[in-house]
Subunit: 75 residues, 6 copies
């Protein structure tokens, strides 16, 4: 009975504000399938929770995502 | 000094968009009470955080909640 | 289909190394009951996961738990 | 830059005490692949953390896993 | 490659609805710096995720935050 | 009343099996200080929980940490 928590930045998708309903469905299907294929876990007992995180709330390299990417882009 | 994280689907409640303020208060009171009664934990040092998750973002059986329930309803 | 994560310090219980099996069973039963009573959640779709955290790994007041308590005890 | 947390019960695997190193590698590879295929996420910026949870510490149906399964097996 | 999850109540900041973008940037910079200074962790491999929690969804002392503070203020 | 969860790989420290007690104390002190300095949070109401994750259980680049580093080292 696995529990999977997926955190992604809130961007992309059809209007740039995060994954579409179809993309979320594909994430859930895909991850549940991995748990089943690798460990034989029962999909009916597998929970997957997706959390979408605002770009200002995600840090990498000590910077918020936009600033981190801008820095990387400058090389 | 326990920390409890409760994740529920964002539905139900007075307007169908999730638990009411009173229901959340009851969750917090109830769970804090369980920690106190079973392990003697001090309520003043018990944090309870409730996270409400969009139905599209919760998967069970490899499907989003609405699709999972629809499938179950069809038997 | 709620998911509840309970984090407690690894202490107490029959041998001082954390909650006993019976205490954990009581936590699970109690918290599942709260979710059912307050929000009508189906226990068969309620996961409760207990995490026991070493005292050195839990901080409060900027100190590890033992040091925090020692400081409080001195007043 | 996704973060994925996978919680599974500590059982199965080569000696019954949880997934093998190879199974964990397959989980990591599979889940990272799903994030890449569905959302185009860069694997080098995808973290996957697996947590193995003792059977006494996981509840379903208001019971610890072994007791829950025993009840289900009795029908 | 650390992952840090920071949960704070959704209050304060420039308009009372939570930390400002600059405050979040300072949290990310500060926490990433602590991980680097104490454990030598590479900032480019350190993720920090900030979650802002509604006051109704955070419990302490068995009460929601506003009620807890009101009780404390009365002494 | 913030809650901070820090996940690090179980390595380094005095005997190579993870951060020392003193390093954990420094993490707790440092992170609690950041929350206080940036948002004015009360240290007595700030919880910090450190989780140490086995190298086999942490993935990056679709690989377990050791394999990921070996690949990077080869260039």
């Amino acid at each position: 009975m696995p529990y999977v928590n997926i955190q992604v930045t809130k961007e992309g998708g059809p209007d740039g504000t995060g994954p579409s309903k179809e993309e979320k469905a594909a994430l859930i299907k895909g991850v549940t399938g991995v748990l089943h294929d690798v460990l034989g876990k029962d999909p009916a007992k597998t929970f997957v929770v997706i959390e979408e995180v605002d770009l200002d709330n995600w840090g990498c390299g000590g910077l918020q995502v936009r600033e981190y990417r801008a820095l990387k882009a400058k090389g």
